[in-house]
Amino acid sequence: MKNNIIILGGGQAGIYAAREIRQNDSKSNIKILGEENLLPYERPPLSKDFLLDKKKAEDLYFHSSDVLKNENIEFENISINKVDFENKKLFANNDNVYSYDSLLISTGSENKKLTLDNNLKNDIYYLRNLEEAKKIKEIVSNKNKITIIGGGFIGLEIASSLSQLQKKVIVIEIGNQLMGRVIPKQIADLVQNTHIEHGNEIILNKQIEKITKKNDDYEILLNDNSLIETDFIIAGIGSTPTVKLFENTNLKLDNGIVTNQFCETSIKDVYAAGDVSNFYHPFYERNMRLESYQHAQNHGICAGKNIAGVKTEYTSIPWMWSDQFNLNLQLTGICDEYDEIIERGNDINNGVIYFFLKNNKIRGACGVGVIGKVGRDIRITSKLTEKDTIVDKQILSDQNLKLNKLIQK
C-alpha cells in the first residue's frame, strides 16, 4: 500500500529514518520537512573542525541531493507551525498544508537561552546550526578575549577551538566541575587541566549577575563581585527538546516526546526519534533522552524500520564523544546507576577510564585520553555492557591486560 510518510525535522535522525524507510518500502512517498535551508548535515564539526577551518560547510552533508533523488526522498525547506494530529495534518508558516499517514517527529533540540535583564539578546551568541557557526567564525576573527558561559561539552569544544585560533578564552561554569555530573570529577579535572595548560581560564562555581555593554565590549559581573572584561560572549548552557509545537496537543510530553522502545509516541502513527525523544530503553528498563550523534543515527534507523512495518526494538547502548585539544572523551552506557566504580589507568597519555558497575555488571563507562587511546576499550565496554555478564574486575582495572579477553570468554 502506498502511504504518505512525513518526517518533520531534517536533521540526522530524520535523514537516517528516511533512507531506512526506503530500504524497506519502495512505494510510499517520503517527504522531509526541514526549516533549515540545507540538506541534513553533521553538527559535531560545528564546534570543532568547522571553526578551525579544517572542514568546510560542503563537507558536512550526510548525503548529496543525488542520493535523495535516487532514493526518491523529497526534502522541502519549510517551517511547520501547527499540527493537527486528529486529522493527520501539518500546517506551514506559508499556509501550505501537509497530510500524512505516518509521521516521524525529529525536530531535535534547541539551546537554552540566558535570561538577562537588559536588552542584550542579540549580543550573546549560541551554537546549534551551521548559520550560527558561520556567524561565530566570522565575528571571532576580529575578537581577542572571548567568554564562554557554560562549561558543558559544546562550550568546552568552542573554547578549545578558539584557543587553537590564538584567542584568549574564559569559561564560566556555574557548577563545581566541568561537563556536569555525568562525567566523573577526576575526568572533568583532567580535561580542565588541559584547557588551563593551553591558556584558557576556567572559572567554576560562579553565577552571572549582570552583563553590561561598554562600547563594543562587555563587562560580566559575577556573584562574588568580580568583573570580567570581554569582547565577545558565547553561551552554551544546555538544551531542551524542540517540542513547543506539540504543547497544546494530546502528544505525551515529558522532557521531550515520550516514546516506547519502537519509537512510537502516545498517538497512533506518530513516531519520534533523536534528540527530541524521551525513549524507553529495554536494557536499562527506563526512559532516557540522549543528545548524541550515534543515537540520532541509530534511533532514526530504528524509527524508519518501525514506520515501514518492520517491528524493531531500540536496544543500542548509548555512546557519545567530545574532542577538545588533543583529547578524545567518550561515554558509553549510563553512568548514574552504580554501586561500584573501577578505574583503569591514570595517565591521560595512555587513557583513563572509569567503569560504573551494578551487581558486578557494567552499566556504563567514561574515558578520556590523548586521541585514539580510549576508543577501543570504550567500544569493548559497550559490548560487555550489552552482554550483561559479570566481569573480571582485575582485567578492568589493569591497563596491561587487554579488555578483548573479556569479550572472548
Binding site: D323, G375, R379
Partner: protein, 105 residues
C-alpha cells in the same frame, strides 16, 4: 610494478589473530592485520580525521576507528559506517618464509 615494491613488515607471529600492527615506511603509516583467513593491509590513518587506526578494534573483517567509531572493511577498504564515508586504501600482502610483505605503490 617492480619487485622492490614489496616491503617487509615483520614476522607472521608478530600479529595476534583478529588484531593488527602499525607499520611505518618512509613518511607513511600502514596497518597490517591478521584475520582468520590471512593477512591484509590498509592505510594506517582513518579517512575521517587524522587518527591512527592502530588503536582501533578489529572485529571479523572490520576495523573500527577509535575516535568516532567509523568502520571500514579491512579487505576492501570500504567505509561501512559514518562518520567515515571515504574508503580506506588497501594494499596487497604476501607471506614468504614466515615473513609478511606488503606492496606499496
Amino acid at each position: 610494478m617492480s619487485e622492490e615494491n614489496w616491503i617487509e613488515v615483520g614476522s607472521t607471529d608478530s600479529i595476534e589473530e583478529e588484531d593488527l600492527i602499525r607499520f611505518d615506511h618512509q613518511d607513511k603509516t600502514f596497518c597490517v592485520y591478521k584475520l582468520t583467513d590471512g593477512f591484509y593491509a590498509t592505510d594506517g590513518i582513518c579517512t575521517h580525521e587524522a587518527v591512527h587506526l592502530e588503536d582501533g578494534l578489529v572485529m571479523d573483517d572490520e576495523i573500527e576507528c577509535p575516535m568516532h567509531q567509523g568502520i571500514f572493511n579491512i579487505k576492501s577498504g570500504e567505509a561501512l559506517s559514518p562518520p567515515a564515508c571515504e574508503d580506506l586504501k588497501t594494499y596487497p600482502v604476501k607471506v614468504d618464509n614466515d615473513k609478511i610483505f606488503i606492496k606499496i605503490d
